[in-house]
């Protein structure tokens, strides 16, 4: 059974077109070339579709990297683990 951490990883690979080789949970927004304004929208929609959580625009635009996504999801009760 896929856990929340794996689901998040798959979502991020798909939304940002990252290759498995380059993926890390501590990647920052600056390190992901496809994390642009439409990427933020895509991530927010993906989080809603995958976890059922509707991010506010403020939450979506304030994310500085994957660690922040994990912190946000953890605070909502999802077991996505730590970024390190």
């Amino acid at each position: 059974m896929t856990n929340d951490r794996d689901k998040l990883r798959e979502l991020l690979l798909d939304v940002f077109l990252l290759s498995p080789d380059e993926f890390r949970f501590d990647l920052t927004r600056e390190e992901i070339d496809t994390w642009d304004s439409l990427g933020v929208v895509s991530l927010a929609v993906g989080i809603h579709e995958t976890f059922g959580y509707h991010m506010s625009p403020q939450e979506a635009t304030s994310l500085r990297g994957i660690a922040d996504v994990m912190t946000l999801l953890s605070s909502k009760g999802f077991d996505v683990g730590q970024s390190g």
Partner: protein, 397 residues
């Protein structure tokens, strides 16, 4: 009452060529049409019968539907077309060519002028084949080729690999591409397949009957580079950005659903393509007028995106337009035959490395085959409702 205009149907029989030769020699105007055109016979008959007196002699009519699916019967003048065939002979350095192998229907304006009429005028042999519809026959012709010319469209390229494997055909010394985007990204493959061939990008349209520019493959680096206009042909792009031409070889009129449209000598004719002049006087295409649009402020050129797809995908591919959930213009990529997950990832990586996200497709759909029009082009209008396709990737918006 004027005599009825003869209509010749291409049935892929040996008698086709004799009938065509006879019709060309006769002073009467004739129409040359595919067996299955998808166009109502009554429409064709009523159009040719409505030809005015001055077009009922020394002319010919071919059917085209471009990529729109909207039928158009284009009327050419026999002497003009012969003059163009002679000019192409010089520009394409065809003197060493002894034969031409037809792999496309001769009812296409491209193969009609570049192959059938050229062979007739230059007294060369035309080897009729039904192309990949009868691959054994086509392969036999290619194997027996001796200083041959071949006229292709890009969508045939994957079939060479699928049907003929790695076989090479050194007897072909000229390979022409027209009728769509030039396969710049696959030139290495074309050169391997035809190691003795000079390769040409031919640009034009049915109203040009059909040629406007020609360039050798090595004279440009991008698929959009169509080279220089042929002598006597003028090109321009007015503010609308649409490439227009004037040509002494052009069609003289066309019929569509609105009736007969005559083309005047000083008239600039739109090609439906967007373009402009670039380095060394070469003209460049930037897309079809209907294939370039803005999305979230980014200019999207579907031909440029198709070029990107072709760097990582050997199969067929086409886009159709669709609005996204936010109401913005967007586009969907359809690939065929079935693409693996690795194929899709490879296409996506090509998008990522070359284009901003606003230019990425809304979805990538996979199909068994793409729907084709009778003229050999992809039927874009049938893509949205194509049976059996499925979504391989989508943007979340």
């Amino acid at each position: 009452m004027a005599a009825s205009v003869p209509i010749l149907i291409e049935r892929h029989q040996p008698s086709d060529l004799a009938a065509l030769d006879e019709a060309w020699s006769d002073s009467s105007t004739f129409a040359f049409l595919p067996e299955k055109s998808g166009v109502a016979e009554e429409w064709i008959r009523s159009s040719v019968d409505a030809l005015p007196d001055d077009l009922r002699r020394d002319h010919f009519a071919l059917l085209t539907s471009g990529s729109t699916g909207r039928p158009k019967l284009v009327i050419g003048n026999k002497r003009r077309a012969e003059a163009l065939a002679g000019l192409l002979h010089e520009v394409q350095n065809s003197e060493p060519v002894t034969m031409t192998i037809a792999a496309l229907p001769l009812t296409y304006c491209y193969s009609f002028v570049n192959q059938w009429l050229w062979a007739r005028r230059m007294k060369r042999r035309l080897v009729p084949t039904r192309g990949f519809a009868h691959p054994d026959e086509f392969r036999d012709a290619l194997r027996a080729a001796n200083a041959a010319m071949l006229c292709l469209v890009r969508v045939q390229l994957p079939l060479f690999h699928d049907v003929f494997g790695d076989e090479t055909f050194p007897g072909v010394i000229r390979v022409h591409f027209a009728g769509g985007t030039f396969p710049q990204a696959q030139l290495g493959e074309v050169r391997q397949r035809f190691p003795s061939a000079e390769i040409f990008n031919n640009y034009g349209c049915a109203e040009a009957m059909p040629r406007l520019t020609v360039r050798r493959a090595e004279e440009g680096a991008t698929a959009g580079d169509i080279g220089l206009p042929l002598p006597g042909i003028e090109l321009r792009t007015p503010e609308s950005g649409e490439l227009q031409f004037r040509s002494p070889y052009r069609a003289v009129a066309w019929f569509d659903d609105d009736g007969l449209h005559r083309i005047e000598d000083d008239q600039w004719i739109g090609t439906g393509d967007l373009g402009g002049i670039g380095d060394r006087g070469h003209w460049r295409l930037t897309g079809r007028a209907s294939e370039v649009f803005k999305r979230y402020g980014e200019k999207v050129s579907l031909p440029a995106l198709l070029e990107t797809v072709q760097t990582s995908w050997r199969g067929a591919a086409a886009f159709y337009r669709e609005r996204d959930p936010n109401g913005e213009e967007g586009h969907v990529l359809v690939v065929a035959p079935r693409a693996s997950d690795a194929d899709i990832r490879s296409i996506l990586q090509a998008f990522r490395s070359t284009h901003p996200r606003a230019q990425w497709p809304l979805r990538i759909e996979t199909a068994g085959a793409l729907p084709m029009l009778p003229n050999g082009k992809i039927d874009i209008t049938a893509l949205p409702t194509l049976d059996g396709k499925y979504v391989s990737w989508r943007q979340r918006l």
